[in-house]
């Protein structure tokens, strides 16, 4: 993103995504760690995008950089180019905002002197100066609104920008006329202030979307980005996912995800398909088995011949379903647009009526009637109305983000507030989606056995070992000192501890996931693993019920596994649902008039997430899941669901209050304007005051996410 100017063009530049950075210390570690590598000339972190841009010689490869970062404790991924963030929404608004701010301040300064009594040639001079600053500034800063209004009018529609554009244009033209004819009043100040406030609202809205998208993109870019490809001559080379071609053989180590669909040509292992199908039990695979992109390799290294890559994978099938699913969502009309559909005609009618009234009944003359009509247009310009929605949503999203919940855009909060039904996927959403060692067994482990288990497990990248390390480290266990550690892929780890042989191995024929801890001369410990409910699942479900939201499980897993979780949570469940079934279940509920929230994580949930009125996915979800969901929550706790619903409802309550405030202001000000009693000073003061009140009211949402 940021083109660091110090990077010489002759070198190569690699952008890596490092999601783990979040402070100055991390930045320094990453930049220094990379700069110390031979062949690397510069590294520059962009903390907002969680990326680091590295300039290096051609001899330095991406895996070398990733390994170097891994060695200092930062897991990194090369950036997937198709997922590179779209251009920031706020950037094109910053320059108009700056211009409007500059012009509004200077013109206001001149206006204050006119209000305080400057007249004659001084007033004319000030009006000319205001015009010289104001007209180009309005033309430049107003483009945003003119373009949008013109786009709407061309298609025979109207939006909030139409009354704004008409009001701004008329006011500018009339002010110019007043200036040229040496009139007493010009409205450049009010017009510019109006543009300034409206642009500020837009920029806030855009900044919020950019920020949330940056967070989600950082997660998205962690998707399996490539594979080690074995050449005919036995050489091994790392290739990015888009470069994988049918027929290549990729080597997948235990603990890695597959980057493409394929068929196993050597090795045997067990695979975790849960991301793809929702099925939680590992599946055994041997030579000849078909395997899919996104699958996690659990046990041994396998060689896979690619049969479909990129857009040809199972993923692409799901993507097609998702394209067809976004209907309900694209039909949703945002509350601000709904309001402006009523508001715009009302304002135009009022302005036209005051013009006609003063012309016909008041016999005020063309000029005076026009002035009054424009005063009505300016004073009713939806300044506070334009701020009412974005400010409230920005504040609420900021509060949610502090709690680890990322909202992709403001309309998601509006849709979420109306939800009265929630469907939960099982694996990975209601449960952790990864094996967790049985806490009862860990409690029973003697301290030295636990220390040995942690030390052994920390030498392996196997998913069960890593789960064991996490659980034991969380209990405060300190690793024992081991010697001669050796890992045998698919079998386990062996080592010596105080001269005794110790091992962490695969159990003989035990059903389910488990590992056995052997310490010579002591009985062996069997540590079973299982996928467990997320922490606070029960409390979260109870809270959802209290919010009037009925919950049930919608899973692709088999009936027995789903029944077990249904029993634990007391929810009703539908099992063995494929992606199309899930989408239909949602369509049925929507047809019955329910507003559905879908919570899911896997690829198989993608279409359902896109079809539901609102959707939420955990940060550990598949990239498809995170992309399709409106909200993404980090952390393990399911608490995020009721929290975000509560925050969304509070936000909508504040938005409604803001509308009431803005309309109340108009009810007071419009009759004055129509009566011809509003001076530019009063209009400017009233407009600022109503905007400030709306902002202050929205700031109460800082604590919305509690």
């Amino acid at each position: 993103m940021s083109a660091a100017p110090q990077i010489a063009p002759a070198q190569e530049r690699t952008v890596l995504v490092v999601p783990g950075m979040h402070c100055a210390g991390c930045m320094a570690k990453v930049e220094r760690g990379l700069a110390e590598l031979p062949g690397v000339s510069a590294a520059r972190v962009n903390l907002t995008a969680r990326q680091v841009s590295v300039a290096h010689d051609a001899g330095v490869t991406t895996p070398m950089l990733v390994d170097a970062l891994g060695a200092i404790g930062f897991p990194a991924q090369p950036r997937v180019e198709e997922l590179a963030p779209p251009p920031a929404a706020v950037k094109p608004l910053l320059a108009p905002l700056g211009v409007a701010g500059f012009a509004a301040m200077n013109v206001m300064l001149l206006s204050v002197s006119i209000w305080s009594g400057a007249d004659g040639s001084t007033r004319d001079l000030f009006h000319w100066l205001s015009a010289a600053i104001g007209v180009p500034a309005i033309a430049y800063a107003g483009r945003v609104f003119f373009a949008s209004a013109w786009g709407a009018l061309k298609h025979g529609r109207t939006n909030m920008d139409v009354p704004i554009s008409i009001g701004v244009t008329l006011a500018t033209v009339l002010s110019l006329y007043e200036t040229v004819t040496g009139g007493a009043e010009a409205w450049f100040d009010g017009t510019l202030m109006l543009l300034l406030f409206l642009l500020a609202g837009r920029a806030l809205d855009a900044a919020m979307r950019d920020k949330a998208r940056a967070g989600v993109d950082a997660l998205l870019r962690q998707a399996a980005p490539g594979a080690l490809v074995v050449g005919r001559d036995g050489s091994v080379e790392w290739l990015a996912a888009p470069q994988l071609v049918v027929g290549m053989v990729m080597r997948v180590a235990a603990g890695e995800r597959l980057a493409a669909d394929g068929e196993i040509v050597s090795g045997q292992t067990r695979l975790d398909n849960s991301l793809l199908t929702g099925e939680s039990a590992p599946v055994a695979a041997a030579v000849g088995s078909a395997v899919h992109a996104g699958t996690l390799n659990l046990d041994g290294a396998i060689d896979v011949r690619v049969t479909a890559a990129g857009q040809g994978t199972t993923l692409a099938e799901i993507a097609k379903l998702m394209d067809a699913s976004g209907q309900a969502r694209s039909k949703y009309v945002r509350i601000a647009d709904r309001a402006s559909r009523l508001y715009a005609p009302a304002v135009h009618t009022l302005a036209a009526l005051s013009f006609a009234g003063w012309m016909l009944i008041g016999h005020a003359g063309l000029h005076h009637s026009l002035v009054i009509a424009i005063a009505v247009l300016i004073i009713t310009c939806p300044c506070a109305l334009g701020l009412a929605v974005p400010v409230a949503q920005v504040v609420a999203c900021g509060a949610l983000m502090k709690r680890g919940i990322m909202v992709k855009d403001g309309s998601a909060l509006e849709r979420l507030a109306g939800v009265d039904r929630v469907l939960l996927d099982k694996t990975g959403t209601l449960t952790m989606g990864r094996p967790v060692p049985d806490p009862a067994v860990l409690d029973a482990l003697p301290a030295n056995a636990a220390a040995v288990a942690l030390a052994l497990a920390s030498h392996s990248r196997h998913p069960l070992s890593r789960a064991l390390v996490e659980a034991l480290a969380a209990r405060g266990v300190v690793a024992a000192e081991l010697a001669e550690v050796a890992e045998e892929p698919g079998q386990g780890l062996r080592a010596r501890w105080h001269g005794k042989a110790v091992a962490l191995r695969r159990p003989g024929e035990a059903a389910g996931m488990a590992t056995v801890l052997d310490i010579a001369g002591e009985p062996a410990w069997l540590i079973p693993f299982a996928d467990r409910l997320r922490p606070q699942a029960d409390a979260a479900l109870a809270e959802l019920a209290a919010l009037g939201i009925e919950a049930s499980i919608l899973s692709g897993d088999n009936a027995a596994a789903v029944a077990e979780v249904a029993r634990q949570t007391g929810l009703t469940a539908q099992a063995s649902a494929d992606p199309a079934d899930k989408r239909e279940a949602i369509a049925r509920l929507q047809a019955a008039g329910r507003k559905v929230l879908m919570a899911g994580d896997g690829l198989n949930d993608g279409p359902a997430l896109a079809a539901a009125d609102a959707s939420i996915a955990p940060g550990t979800a598949s990239d498809v899941g995170r992309q399709a969901a409106d909200l993404v929550f980090l952390g393990d706790s399911l608490d995020a669901l009721p929290r975000s619903v509560r925050a969304a409802r509070r936000t909508m309550a504040v938005v409604r209050q803001n509308f009431a405030l803005a309309i109340g202001y108009n009810v007071l000000a419009v009759p004055l304007a129509m009566a011809g009693k509003v001076t530019p000073l009063i209009a400017a003061a009233a407009m600022s005051l109503s905007s400030l009140i709306v902002i202050a009211n929205s700031l109460r949402l800082v604590r919305a996410a509690r």
């Binding site: 903390l47 320059a95 700056g98 100066l129």
Partner: protein
């Protein structure tokens, strides 16, 4: 009134200077990484002498 002839150009000039500075900042990517800029000030220089 001669005061005005002097003060108004000065006020406008300062405003324009600010605006130009803002545009320069936009164009050179000063707003690319707001979080990073805030955090970067806390990074200790490498190899600084001990107190």
């Amino acid at each position: 009134m001669t005061g005005l002839a002097l003060l108004i150009p000065i006020a406008l000039g300062m405003g324009l200077f600010g605006l130009a500075a803002f545009f320069w900042a936009l164009r050179t990517g000063q707003f690319e990484d707001m979080d990073g800029a805030a955090a970067r000030i806390l990074i200790d220089e490498e190899g600084d002498s001990l107190p």
